[in-house]
Protein backbone atom coordinates (compact mmCIF):
# COMPACT_ATOMS: atom_id res chain seq x y z
CA UNK A 1 0.00 0.00 0.00
CA UNK A 2 1.50 3.32 -1.01
CA UNK A 3 1.59 6.39 1.16
CA UNK A 4 -0.86 8.06 -1.21
CA UNK A 5 -3.50 5.32 -0.79
CA UNK A 6 -3.06 5.37 3.00
CA UNK A 7 -3.65 9.14 3.07
CA UNK A 8 -6.64 8.78 0.75
CA UNK A 9 -8.22 6.05 2.91
CA UNK A 10 -7.76 8.18 6.05
CA UNK A 11 -9.29 11.18 4.30
CA UNK A 12 -12.24 9.06 3.11
CA UNK A 13 -12.86 7.72 6.61
CA UNK A 14 -12.82 11.25 8.04
CA UNK A 15 -15.10 12.42 5.26
CA UNK A 16 -17.65 9.65 5.95
CA UNK A 17 -17.93 10.80 9.54
CA UNK A 18 -18.26 14.41 8.47
CA UNK A 19 -21.73 16.01 8.52
CA UNK A 20 -23.43 16.69 5.21
CA UNK A 21 -26.10 19.29 4.44
CA UNK A 22 -28.11 20.21 1.42
CA UNK A 23 -27.48 23.62 -0.09
CA UNK A 24 -30.59 24.89 -1.74
CA UNK A 25 -31.95 28.31 -2.63
CA UNK A 26 -33.58 30.37 0.08
CA UNK A 27 -32.04 28.58 3.06
CA UNK A 28 -31.15 30.25 6.34
CA UNK A 29 -28.40 29.89 8.98
CA UNK A 30 -30.60 27.54 11.05
CA UNK A 31 -30.38 24.91 8.32
CA UNK A 32 -26.64 24.58 9.03
CA UNK A 33 -25.94 23.56 12.65
CA UNK A 34 -22.58 24.67 14.09
CA UNK A 35 -20.22 22.10 12.66
CA UNK A 36 -16.50 22.71 12.30
CA UNK A 37 -16.38 21.23 8.86
CA UNK A 38 -19.11 19.74 6.68
CA UNK A 39 -19.82 18.66 3.13
CA UNK A 40 -22.59 20.07 0.98
CA UNK A 41 -25.00 18.47 -1.43
CA UNK A 42 -25.70 20.99 -4.14
CA UNK A 43 -29.34 21.00 -5.08
CA UNK A 44 -30.02 21.11 -8.84
CA UNK A 45 -30.65 24.84 -8.45
CA UNK A 46 -26.87 25.34 -8.12
CA UNK A 47 -25.60 23.49 -11.14
CA UNK A 48 -26.30 22.44 -14.70
CA UNK A 49 -26.28 18.81 -15.59
CA UNK A 50 -26.01 16.70 -18.74
CA UNK A 51 -25.57 13.02 -19.43
CA UNK A 52 -23.47 12.34 -22.49
CA UNK A 53 -21.87 9.51 -24.35
CA UNK A 54 -18.34 10.60 -25.21
CA UNK A 55 -15.54 8.96 -27.25
CA UNK A 56 -13.21 8.84 -24.25
CA UNK A 57 -12.45 6.33 -21.55
CA UNK A 58 -11.73 8.36 -18.43
CA UNK A 59 -13.43 11.15 -16.53
CA UNK A 60 -10.47 13.52 -16.76
CA UNK A 61 -10.59 13.19 -20.55
CA UNK A 62 -14.34 13.82 -20.57
CA UNK A 63 -13.90 16.91 -18.43
CA UNK A 64 -12.14 18.62 -21.34
CA UNK A 65 -15.33 18.35 -23.38
CA UNK A 66 -17.45 20.00 -20.67
CA UNK A 67 -17.00 23.70 -21.72
CA UNK A 68 -18.01 22.84 -25.28
CA UNK A 69 -21.00 20.78 -24.16
CA UNK A 70 -22.35 23.59 -22.02
CA UNK A 71 -21.47 26.35 -24.49
CA UNK A 72 -24.49 28.60 -25.11
CA UNK A 73 -26.42 26.75 -22.45
CA UNK A 74 -25.14 28.64 -19.43
CA UNK A 75 -25.63 32.30 -18.47
CA UNK A 76 -22.65 34.67 -18.83
CA UNK A 77 -19.94 34.01 -16.22
CA UNK A 78 -17.09 31.74 -15.14
CA UNK A 79 -17.86 28.10 -14.48
CA UNK A 80 -16.16 25.06 -13.14
CA UNK A 81 -16.82 21.63 -14.59
CA UNK A 82 -16.87 18.09 -13.38
CA UNK A 83 -17.24 14.84 -15.30
CA UNK A 84 -18.13 11.55 -13.59
CA UNK A 85 -18.33 8.24 -15.38
CA UNK A 86 -21.55 6.37 -14.63
CA UNK A 87 -22.02 2.61 -14.42
CA UNK A 88 -23.93 2.73 -17.70
CA UNK A 89 -20.84 4.08 -19.51
CA UNK A 90 -22.33 7.54 -19.86
CA UNK A 91 -20.58 10.58 -18.47
CA UNK A 92 -22.36 12.80 -15.95
CA UNK A 93 -21.28 16.31 -16.87
CA UNK A 94 -21.72 19.12 -14.34
CA UNK A 95 -21.23 22.86 -14.63
CA UNK A 96 -21.35 25.07 -11.56
CA UNK A 97 -20.35 28.56 -10.60
CA UNK A 98 -18.05 28.82 -7.57
CA UNK A 99 -18.87 32.52 -7.28
CA UNK A 100 -22.60 31.89 -7.12
CA UNK A 101 -22.18 29.19 -4.48
CA UNK A 102 -19.92 31.51 -2.47
CA UNK A 103 -22.49 34.30 -2.71
CA UNK A 104 -25.19 31.93 -1.48
CA UNK A 105 -23.02 30.79 1.43
CA UNK A 106 -22.27 34.42 2.32
CA UNK A 107 -25.92 35.29 2.20
CA UNK A 108 -26.73 32.42 4.55
CA UNK A 109 -23.81 33.28 6.84
CA UNK A 110 -21.80 30.09 6.41
CA UNK A 111 -18.02 30.39 6.27
CA UNK A 112 -16.68 28.93 3.00
CA UNK A 113 -13.65 27.64 4.94
CA UNK A 114 -16.00 25.27 6.85
CA UNK A 115 -17.14 23.65 3.63
CA UNK A 116 -15.29 20.47 2.74
CA UNK A 117 -16.48 18.88 -0.46
CA UNK A 118 -19.40 19.67 -2.72
CA UNK A 119 -21.51 16.82 -4.05
CA UNK A 120 -24.01 16.99 -6.85
CA UNK A 121 -27.46 15.77 -5.92
CA UNK A 122 -27.86 13.97 -9.22
CA UNK A 123 -24.71 11.98 -8.75
CA UNK A 124 -24.87 11.39 -5.04
CA UNK A 125 -28.48 10.33 -4.89
CA UNK A 126 -28.71 8.24 -8.02
CA UNK A 127 -29.33 5.12 -5.92
CA UNK A 128 -32.16 6.75 -3.95
CA UNK A 129 -35.48 6.14 -5.59
CA UNK A 130 -37.82 8.04 -3.26
CA UNK A 131 -38.59 11.73 -3.20
CA UNK A 132 -37.62 13.53 -0.01
CA UNK A 133 -38.30 16.81 1.73
CA UNK A 134 -35.47 19.35 1.87
CA UNK A 135 -37.28 21.90 4.06
CA UNK A 136 -38.40 25.44 3.30
CA UNK A 137 -41.47 23.99 1.58
CA UNK A 138 -39.59 22.15 -1.15
CA UNK A 139 -38.99 18.53 -2.06
CA UNK A 140 -36.54 16.81 -4.42
CA UNK A 141 -38.29 14.53 -6.83
CA UNK A 142 -36.67 12.09 -9.24
CA UNK A 143 -38.01 12.63 -12.71
CA UNK A 144 -36.64 10.59 -15.61
CA UNK A 145 -33.32 9.92 -13.83
CA UNK A 146 -32.87 13.57 -12.89
CA UNK A 147 -33.61 15.30 -9.61
CA UNK A 148 -36.03 18.19 -9.78
CA UNK A 149 -36.82 20.67 -7.00
CA UNK A 150 -40.56 21.10 -6.58
CA UNK A 151 -42.78 22.89 -4.06
CA UNK A 152 -44.20 20.62 -1.32
CA UNK A 153 -47.67 21.07 -2.71
CA UNK A 154 -46.57 19.12 -5.79
CA UNK A 155 -44.78 16.38 -3.77
CA UNK A 156 -45.74 12.75 -4.24
CA UNK A 157 -47.37 10.89 -1.36
CA UNK A 158 -44.37 8.62 -0.51
CA UNK A 159 -42.07 11.59 0.21
CA UNK A 160 -39.63 10.88 3.08
CA UNK A 161 -37.65 13.32 5.34
CA UNK A 162 -34.00 14.04 4.43
CA UNK A 163 -32.72 12.33 7.62
CA UNK A 164 -33.99 9.02 6.26
CA UNK A 165 -31.37 9.03 3.49
CA UNK A 166 -28.33 9.88 5.63
CA UNK A 167 -27.10 6.28 5.60
CA UNK A 168 -27.20 6.26 1.81
CA UNK A 169 -25.08 9.40 1.81
CA UNK A 170 -22.35 8.02 4.06
CA UNK A 171 -20.55 6.28 1.21
CA UNK A 172 -20.21 9.39 -0.86
CA UNK A 173 -17.61 9.99 -3.52
CA UNK A 174 -16.88 12.17 -6.55
CA UNK A 175 -17.00 15.43 -4.63
CA UNK A 176 -15.53 18.67 -5.90
CA UNK A 177 -13.74 21.42 -4.01
CA UNK A 178 -15.12 24.90 -3.88
CA UNK A 179 -12.69 27.35 -5.45
CA UNK A 180 -12.72 30.17 -2.96
CA UNK A 181 -10.19 32.59 -4.32
CA UNK A 182 -10.73 32.54 -8.07
CA UNK A 183 -12.21 36.05 -7.81
CA UNK A 184 -8.91 37.38 -6.37
CA UNK A 185 -6.68 36.25 -9.18
CA UNK A 186 -7.66 34.48 -12.40
CA UNK A 187 -6.36 30.93 -12.62
CA UNK A 188 -4.39 31.72 -15.80
CA UNK A 189 -2.58 34.65 -14.11
CA UNK A 190 -1.93 32.56 -11.03
CA UNK A 191 -0.52 29.78 -13.21
CA UNK A 192 1.70 32.30 -15.02
CA UNK A 193 3.32 33.10 -11.65
CA UNK A 194 3.17 29.74 -9.93
CA UNK A 195 4.29 27.44 -12.74
CA UNK A 196 7.65 29.21 -13.44
CA UNK A 197 8.23 29.44 -9.70
CA UNK A 198 7.54 25.76 -9.31
CA UNK A 199 9.85 24.90 -12.20
CA UNK A 200 12.55 27.12 -10.75
CA UNK A 201 12.05 25.46 -7.37
CA UNK A 202 12.41 22.02 -8.94
CA UNK A 203 15.57 23.11 -10.79
CA UNK A 204 17.13 24.58 -7.67
CA UNK A 205 16.21 21.55 -5.60
CA UNK A 206 17.79 19.28 -8.22
CA UNK A 207 20.95 21.40 -8.16
CA UNK A 208 20.99 21.27 -4.37
CA UNK A 209 20.68 17.47 -4.37
CA UNK A 210 23.46 17.15 -6.97
CA UNK A 211 25.89 19.41 -5.08
CA UNK A 212 25.01 17.62 -1.84
CA UNK A 213 25.86 14.25 -3.42
CA UNK A 214 29.06 15.63 -4.94
CA UNK A 215 30.09 16.95 -1.52
CA UNK A 216 29.42 13.55 0.03
CA UNK A 217 31.63 11.90 -2.58
CA UNK A 218 34.39 14.49 -2.07
CA UNK A 219 34.24 14.07 1.73
CA UNK A 220 34.54 10.29 1.26
CA UNK A 221 37.56 10.77 -1.03
CA UNK A 222 39.17 13.14 1.49
CA UNK A 223 38.82 10.60 4.28
CA UNK A 224 40.63 8.01 2.14
CA UNK A 225 43.59 10.11 0.90
CA UNK A 226 45.82 9.38 3.92
CA UNK A 227 44.94 5.71 4.31
CA UNK A 228 45.49 5.15 0.57
CA UNK A 229 49.06 6.40 1.00
CA UNK A 230 49.63 4.21 4.04
CA UNK A 231 49.46 7.10 6.50
CA UNK A 232 47.48 7.51 9.75
CA UNK A 233 43.85 8.46 9.10
CA UNK A 234 43.68 11.84 10.84
CA UNK A 235 44.97 15.22 9.69
CA UNK A 236 46.25 15.92 13.21
CA UNK A 237 48.54 12.86 13.19
CA UNK A 238 49.80 13.57 9.68
CA UNK A 239 50.54 17.21 10.47
CA UNK A 240 52.61 16.07 13.44
CA UNK A 241 54.48 13.55 11.26
CA UNK A 242 55.12 16.18 8.58
CA UNK A 243 56.36 18.72 11.14
CA UNK A 244 58.73 16.14 12.60
CA UNK A 245 60.03 15.09 9.18
CA UNK A 246 60.51 18.73 8.14
CA UNK A 247 62.40 19.39 11.34
CA UNK A 248 64.66 16.38 10.74
CA UNK A 249 65.18 17.33 7.09
CA UNK A 250 66.09 20.89 7.95
CA UNK A 251 68.44 19.92 10.80
CA UNK A 252 70.18 17.16 8.80
CA UNK A 253 70.64 19.41 5.75
CA UNK A 254 72.21 22.02 8.03
CA UNK A 255 74.56 19.45 9.59
CA UNK A 256 75.74 18.32 6.15
CA UNK A 257 76.21 21.96 5.10
CA UNK A 258 78.25 22.70 8.23
CA UNK A 259 80.45 19.64 7.68
CA UNK A 260 81.01 20.79 4.09
CA UNK A 261 82.00 24.25 5.38
CA UNK A 262 84.50 22.72 7.84
CA UNK A 263 86.06 20.67 5.06
CA UNK A 264 86.39 23.81 2.90
CA UNK A 265 88.22 25.85 5.52
CA UNK A 266 91.38 27.40 3.92
CA UNK A 267 93.96 25.87 6.27
CA UNK A 268 97.59 26.59 5.55
CA UNK A 269 100.52 24.26 5.89
CA UNK A 270 100.99 23.15 9.52
CA UNK A 271 97.42 24.16 10.31
CA UNK A 272 95.00 21.33 11.10
CA UNK A 273 91.65 20.44 12.64
CA UNK A 274 92.22 19.49 16.27
CA UNK A 275 88.64 18.41 16.96
CA UNK A 276 85.14 18.87 15.66
CA UNK A 277 82.03 17.70 17.45
CA UNK A 278 78.37 18.01 16.52
CA UNK A 279 76.03 17.02 19.33
CA UNK A 280 72.27 16.52 19.27
CA UNK A 281 72.25 17.93 15.75
CA UNK A 282 71.91 21.47 17.02
CA UNK A 283 75.36 22.89 17.65
CA UNK A 284 79.03 22.10 17.19
CA UNK A 285 82.38 22.78 18.82
CA UNK A 286 85.47 23.26 16.75
CA UNK A 287 89.16 23.47 17.62
CA UNK A 288 91.66 24.37 14.92
CA UNK A 289 95.43 24.68 15.25
CA UNK A 290 96.36 27.98 13.56
CA UNK A 291 99.70 29.67 12.85
CA UNK A 292 98.71 32.93 14.54
CA UNK A 293 95.87 34.94 16.10
CA UNK A 294 95.44 36.97 12.89
CA UNK A 295 94.34 33.74 11.13
CA UNK A 296 91.14 33.65 13.20
CA UNK A 297 89.62 36.46 11.18
CA UNK A 298 90.63 34.76 7.92
CA UNK A 299 88.88 31.59 9.08
CA UNK A 300 85.74 33.56 10.03
CA UNK A 301 85.69 35.38 6.67
CA UNK A 302 86.00 32.09 4.78
CA UNK A 303 83.18 30.65 6.92
CA UNK A 304 80.88 33.55 6.04
CA UNK A 305 81.86 33.35 2.38
CA UNK A 306 80.74 29.71 2.27
CA UNK A 307 77.26 30.84 3.44
CA UNK A 308 77.09 28.36 6.27
CA UNK A 309 73.72 28.09 8.02
CA UNK A 310 75.41 28.13 11.43
CA UNK A 311 77.71 30.86 12.68
CA UNK A 312 81.06 30.80 14.42
CA UNK A 313 80.42 32.28 17.83
CA UNK A 314 82.83 33.68 20.43
CA UNK A 315 86.08 32.34 18.94
CA UNK A 316 89.16 32.60 21.13
CA UNK A 317 92.77 31.84 20.41
CA UNK A 318 95.01 30.26 23.01
CA UNK A 319 98.28 28.33 22.72
CA UNK A 320 98.01 28.21 18.93
CA UNK A 321 94.46 26.74 19.04
CA UNK A 322 91.30 28.55 17.99
CA UNK A 323 88.26 27.29 19.91
CA UNK A 324 84.76 28.27 18.88
CA UNK A 325 81.15 27.29 19.12
CA UNK A 326 79.18 26.85 15.93
CA UNK A 327 75.44 27.17 16.14
CA UNK A 328 72.43 28.52 14.38
CA UNK A 329 71.58 32.11 15.29
CA UNK A 330 69.52 32.21 18.45
CA UNK A 331 70.19 28.58 19.35
CA UNK A 332 72.84 29.31 21.97
CA UNK A 333 71.99 31.15 25.15
Amino acid sequence: MTLFTIIESIKNRLRKNRAIFLLDKGQSREDFPDEKRFDLILSPAHYWFKREKLPVKYSFQAKKYAPALFDGYLPEGEYSYQAIKGEDGLFYMFAYSDRMILQELNRIGVKPSNVGKLFFADELMKKIDKSFSIGNGYVLVRHEDEWVRLPESMAPKDCIPITAIHDALRNRSHGVTLTRYSHLIPESSFNAIAVPMLLFLVLLTTEWIMIHRQNGELARQNSQIFTKNGLPPTLFQNRAILENLKKIASSQSQIRHVVMCVRRLPLQKNEFLESFTIENGTSAEIKIALLGKQRVNAIRSAWIKNECPWRIMAPHYENGIMSALIAAKGRVK
Partner: protein, 137 residues
Protein backbone atom coordinates in the same frame (compact mmCIF):
# COMPACT_ATOMS: atom_id res chain seq x y z
CA UNK B 1 -5.26 23.56 -3.35
CA UNK B 2 -8.42 25.35 -4.40
CA UNK B 3 -9.15 26.21 -0.77
CA UNK B 4 -5.78 27.82 -0.14
CA UNK B 5 -5.36 31.54 -0.61
CA UNK B 6 -3.14 32.18 -3.67
CA UNK B 7 -1.00 34.56 -1.62
CA UNK B 8 -0.18 31.71 0.76
CA UNK B 9 0.86 29.50 -2.14
CA UNK B 10 3.08 32.22 -3.62
CA UNK B 11 4.50 32.96 -0.16
CA UNK B 12 5.19 29.29 0.52
CA UNK B 13 6.90 28.92 -2.84
CA UNK B 14 8.97 32.07 -2.30
CA UNK B 15 10.04 30.81 1.12
CA UNK B 16 10.87 27.40 -0.35
CA UNK B 17 12.91 29.08 -3.09
CA UNK B 18 14.79 31.14 -0.52
CA UNK B 19 15.40 28.08 1.63
CA UNK B 20 16.70 26.04 -1.30
CA UNK B 21 18.85 28.97 -2.51
CA UNK B 22 20.30 29.27 1.00
CA UNK B 23 20.97 25.53 1.09
CA UNK B 24 22.69 25.68 -2.30
CA UNK B 25 24.89 28.55 -1.14
CA UNK B 26 25.76 26.54 1.98
CA UNK B 27 26.58 23.43 -0.06
CA UNK B 28 28.74 25.49 -2.44
CA UNK B 29 30.66 26.92 0.50
CA UNK B 30 31.11 23.37 1.81
CA UNK B 31 32.24 22.25 -1.63
CA UNK B 32 34.97 24.91 -1.70
CA UNK B 33 36.09 23.94 1.80
CA UNK B 34 36.16 20.25 0.87
CA UNK B 35 38.08 21.02 -2.31
CA UNK B 36 40.68 23.03 -0.35
CA UNK B 37 40.81 20.23 2.21
CA UNK B 38 41.37 17.75 -0.61
CA UNK B 39 44.27 19.81 -1.97
CA UNK B 40 45.76 20.23 1.50
CA UNK B 41 45.52 16.48 2.22
CA UNK B 42 47.13 15.67 -1.14
CA UNK B 43 49.99 18.11 -0.51
CA UNK B 44 50.58 16.82 3.05
CA UNK B 45 50.53 13.20 1.83
CA UNK B 46 52.96 13.95 -0.99
CA UNK B 47 55.30 15.91 1.30
CA UNK B 48 55.35 13.11 3.86
CA UNK B 49 56.02 10.53 1.13
CA UNK B 50 58.85 12.63 -0.35
CA UNK B 51 60.45 13.35 3.04
CA UNK B 52 60.18 9.71 4.07
CA UNK B 53 61.99 8.73 0.89
CA UNK B 54 64.88 11.00 1.95
CA UNK B 55 64.98 10.74 5.74
CA UNK B 56 62.89 7.74 6.63
CA UNK B 57 64.16 5.20 4.15
CA UNK B 58 65.36 2.36 6.41
CA UNK B 59 66.73 0.18 3.60
CA UNK B 60 69.12 2.80 2.26
CA UNK B 61 70.22 3.74 5.81
CA UNK B 62 70.88 0.13 6.83
CA UNK B 63 72.79 -0.43 3.60
CA UNK B 64 75.08 2.56 4.35
CA UNK B 65 75.86 1.28 7.85
CA UNK B 66 76.51 -2.17 6.46
CA UNK B 67 78.89 -0.71 3.85
CA UNK B 68 80.89 1.05 6.58
CA UNK B 69 81.01 -2.02 8.82
CA UNK B 70 82.04 -4.42 6.12
CA UNK B 71 84.52 -2.18 4.35
CA UNK B 72 88.00 -3.71 4.03
CA UNK B 73 89.39 -0.17 4.29
CA UNK B 74 88.16 0.03 7.88
CA UNK B 75 89.28 -3.41 8.98
CA UNK B 76 90.39 -3.30 12.64
CA UNK B 77 89.52 0.40 12.81
CA UNK B 78 86.06 -0.04 14.30
CA UNK B 79 86.54 0.08 18.04
CA UNK B 80 82.93 -0.25 19.08
CA UNK B 81 79.59 -0.86 17.42
CA UNK B 82 76.52 -0.77 19.63
CA UNK B 83 72.83 -0.84 18.90
CA UNK B 84 70.54 0.82 21.42
CA UNK B 85 66.76 1.02 21.43
CA UNK B 86 66.67 3.78 18.83
CA UNK B 87 70.31 4.74 18.26
CA UNK B 88 73.38 3.16 16.71
CA UNK B 89 76.84 4.18 17.97
CA UNK B 90 80.08 3.49 16.12
CA UNK B 91 83.58 4.42 17.29
CA UNK B 92 86.52 4.39 14.88
CA UNK B 93 90.19 4.47 15.85
CA UNK B 94 93.19 5.97 14.07
CA UNK B 95 91.63 6.97 10.80
CA UNK B 96 93.92 8.64 8.31
CA UNK B 97 92.62 11.28 5.88
CA UNK B 98 91.38 8.88 3.14
CA UNK B 99 89.63 6.63 5.67
CA UNK B 100 88.06 9.60 7.42
CA UNK B 101 86.80 10.88 4.06
CA UNK B 102 85.36 7.47 3.23
CA UNK B 103 83.47 7.16 6.51
CA UNK B 104 82.12 10.72 6.46
CA UNK B 105 81.06 10.37 2.82
CA UNK B 106 79.22 7.11 3.55
CA UNK B 107 77.46 8.62 6.53
CA UNK B 108 76.53 12.02 5.12
CA UNK B 109 75.51 10.77 1.67
CA UNK B 110 73.10 8.21 3.15
CA UNK B 111 69.67 9.11 4.56
CA UNK B 112 70.96 8.68 8.08
CA UNK B 113 69.74 10.96 10.83
CA UNK B 114 73.03 12.02 12.44
CA UNK B 115 72.80 12.84 16.12
CA UNK B 116 76.47 13.11 17.05
CA UNK B 117 79.55 13.37 14.87
CA UNK B 118 82.82 13.86 16.74
CA UNK B 119 86.35 13.91 15.24
CA UNK B 120 89.41 14.36 17.43
CA UNK B 121 93.02 14.23 16.36
CA UNK B 122 95.36 11.91 18.23
CA UNK B 123 98.20 13.81 19.89
CA UNK B 124 101.28 14.26 17.73
CA UNK B 125 99.88 11.94 15.05
CA UNK B 126 98.24 12.50 11.69
CA UNK B 127 95.33 10.18 12.49
CA UNK B 128 91.98 10.88 14.11
CA UNK B 129 89.40 9.09 16.21
CA UNK B 130 85.77 9.31 15.18
CA UNK B 131 82.56 8.76 17.08
CA UNK B 132 79.23 8.68 15.25
CA UNK B 133 75.73 8.31 16.71
CA UNK B 134 72.83 7.95 14.30
CA UNK B 135 69.11 7.19 14.65
CA UNK B 136 68.33 3.54 14.20
CA UNK B 137 66.73 3.08 10.77
Amino acid sequence: MKNIHPAFIVLAMTLSLLLVAFKIAEEKRRYIILLEQNREYQIISQEIIDLKKNWGNPTAARRAIQRVRSSSLLKNRIKKYSKRANKIEISFLKLDAPRLDFVSNQIFNAPLVVDTFSVSREKNESVANLFVKVDKP
